[in-house]
């Protein structure tokens, strides 16, 4: 019996590894560079237009929401704020849209892209909770990292990186300033953008234990703290800080209910964005600014959505489209039938390796049934009774192709039957015995 149990231990490990590696192999063989559909709003024709790869090779289509096709050049001319450099080459500058003229400087001044990806969210990526607090008034062109790092916790500790030791003085100073501003330690969350390659430094947003929001800066070596008033029930889930030259908006704010806001630079006012079907855990979001519109584009692996708003964030139009990359190709269909589930390891929305199974739906049952039939046939050929093989069959019924491969790789040994029957002995046995 224990040999049977031991075999089952190996079978479980094998099924798991097969469910992990076979889909990877399938992907290696059949993946193609489809990529996500580029969906944009054309301020020229007031329609959504998109660029999509629909077949292998270079089969790009440039199309608007009504199905009208364009050449690449026509397409780019429909979104001149994005391709303003091409417009310049083609002699189309300054632009004239809606009886307004836009020159290069005006376009550049308004251009802004804010992004929020699921992988940034807490719980989607591991993050060591240590943050360098840059001097936001460096008095020179470039920002630089300080020789200390902030540990937001029961106080705001500073650790000197050269000595790898707590800097008690800085810790005390900054902690006191925060406390004086009404900050309740411990720090629940810290949001900021750790980089020196940005237009300016906006420090960090800190959430205190009352879920109140504070903005922390280091200015001329001193702590500068602002308490940001929030509506009573408002709970922040994430703040994606964007330090842009234009200094219009400082951040994208996501609340616990999944609603999005833009935070205005300076006033900290929150501008709500109405984005139907937006799911922060699975969708990448981009907000593209141009002199006329703000377009929010968000997509998971299936559908791309776009909401176009005017300069005051009033909804103008919206559109959604199932992307060509989501179309099920024959190889995917075969795979869905052949196997009941896969362990995808990476889901694209987190940095963590995941072992959550992705089930292939009822089609997978066809594969399971076929594998079960093959398993039956093999057992019958080897004259192994159903009673002996019940666990093998159960494994194949549940895990389909993976289980079948596993039981073929580690075949069941027939029960010993002295005086009758024959054992299958490998040819290597003869060599061992003589």
């Amino acid at each position: 019996m224990s040999a049977h149990l031991a075999r089952f231990c190996s079978l479980i490990v094998m099924v798991f590894l097969l469910a992990l590696w076979l889909p990877q192999l399938h992907g290696m063989i059949f993946d193609y560079r489809f990529g996500k559909t580029q969906l944009l709003y054309s301020p020229v024709i007031k329609k959504f237009i998109y660029k999509e790869l629909v077949g292998e090779g270079h089969q790009f289509i440039y199309r608007d929401q009504d199905g009208k096709d364009y050449s690449q050049r026509e397409f780019e001319m429909l979104i001149p704020f994005i391709y303003y450099k091409n417009m310049e080459i083609w002699g189309k500058m300054p632009l004239e849209i809606d009886a307004q003229r836009f020159d290069k400087a005006a376009i550049k001044a308004e251009r802004l892209v804010l992004e929020l990806k699921p992988v940034e969210l807490k719980g989607h990526s591991p993050r060591i909770q240590l943050f360098p607090l840059l001097e936001s008034n460096p008095g020179r062109a470039r920002l630089s990292f300080p020789e200390n790092i902030v540990r937001p916790g029961k106080d705001l500790s500073f650790i000197n990186s050269d000595e790898n030791k707590l800097d008690d003085e800085l810790t005390e100073t900054f902690t006191n300033v925060l406390t004086d501003k009404g900050f309740q330690f411990p720090v629940l969350d810290t949001f900021g953008r750790v980089s020196i390659l940005k237009a300016f430094d906006a420090g960090y947003f800190l959430i205190d234990s009352n879920h109140d929001l504070f903005h922390l800066l280091k200015r001329d070596g001193q702590a500068k703290v602002e308490r940001i008033a929030l509506p009573d029930t408002f709970k922040i889930r994430h703040i994606s800080v964007a330090e842009n030259k234009s200094r219009q908006f400082l951040a994208i704010v996501l609340d616990e209910a999944g609603r999005l806001y833009l935070m205005r630079y300076g006033s900290y006012d929150l501008v709500p964005l109405a984005l139907p079907d937006y799911d922060p855990d699975s969708m990448e979001l981009k907000i593209i600014f141009n002199p006329l519109y703000r377009t929010a584009i968000y997509s998971d692996q299936q559908t791309v959505h776009a909401v176009v708003m005017d300069r005051d964030f009033n909804r103008v139009d919206s559109y959604e489209r199932k992307m060509a990359m989501a179309n099920i190709r024959p190889s995917d269909r075969v795979w869905q039938i052949a196997t009941p589930f896969s362990l995808p390891l990476h889901d694209g929305n987190t940095r963590y390796l995941s072992l959550m199974p992705r089930f292939h739906g009822w089609l997978g049952l066809i594969g399971n049934a076929l594998c079960l039939a093959v398993a039956f046939a093999i057992l019958k050929k080897r004259a192994i009774s159903l009673r002996e093989a019940v666990f093998d069959l159960l494994l194949v019924a549940l895990t389909g192709l993976y289980g079948l491969i596993a039981i073929l790789m580690l075949p069941l040994q027939k029960a010993y039957n002295p005086g009758g029957g024959r054992d299958d002995l490998a040819a290597s046995e003869a060599a061992l015995s003589s």
Partner: protein
């Protein structure tokens, strides 16, 4: 009896174990030198930035050491049993073969575990020497799958060595390699935090799996 079995495993293993321990200590010493060197030629705040924000792993020199350690321990323990089919001597002892082999495996895994613990402690202390505690703890979690690979390689090598049939040996080899490949997919720190418990469970399943090859060795069927 149990003491006797431990005695035998220790006799087989002691030299190799001490040698492997020394090798591991040398690797940790090397890591210490590498990290110290980094902090001498680069600014500390930049190294911290690479480590925390860019997720660069400064300690991945030790990545494959546990794997190698597990492999060497398995060879030291099972090669003397397999040469001239000396395993038959053990199988004839008046003690359940399963129990005996599970004790062997337990002993080997434990001795490998002791080295892994020493490595982990060293890794923690080395990282803590130049980084805040958070980074040292993170390094342990990041290196955890590499240390798990030590057990997987040990169990895998045991399965491959004890299994008497060549085709099944290949199956066990493939299985072990597929498992090992799974433990080196990191691109940054702590990416295995969620997957690790399941992977540990699966790795532990490879220990009782040894009973099947032992059974086959005993009965050649």
């Amino acid at each position: 009896m149990i003491k006797s079995i431990f005695l035998k495993e220790w006799l087989k293993l002691k030299r190799v174990w001490l040698l492997v321990l020394l090798l591991n200590l040398c690797c940790m010493a090397y890591l210490l030198i590498v990290i110290r060197h980094q902090f001498q030629i680069e600014h500390s705040e930049m190294i911290w930035y690479w480590s925390f924000e860019l997720r660069r792993l400064l300690y991945d020199e030790i990545k494959y050491i546990p794997l190698l350690t597990g492999l060497v321990i398995a060879i030291a323990q099972y090669l003397p049993e397999m040469i001239n089919h000396r395993f038959r001597l053990s199988l004839h002892l008046p003690l359940q073969a399963h129990l005996q082999v599970l004790i062997w495996i337990g002993f080997g895994a434990l001795m490998g575990g002791v080295i892994a613990l020493i490595d982990m402690a060293s890794l923690y202390l080395i990282i803590k020497g130049w980084f805040p505690t958070e980074a040292a703890a993170s390094a342990l979690l990041t290196a955890a799958p590499w240390f798990l690979a030590g057990w997987v390689s040990y169990f895998g090598a045991t399965l491959v060595m004890v299994e008497p049939h060549v085709p099944q040996r290949l199956v066990y080899l493939l299985m072990s390699l597929a498992f090992l490949a799974l433990l080196y997919l990191e691109k940054g720190y702590q990416e295995y935090d969620h997957a690790l418990p399941v992977m540990i469970l699966l790795a532990l399943l490879m220990a009782p799996a040894i009973i099947l090859p032992v059974h086959r060795y005993r009965h050649r069927s």
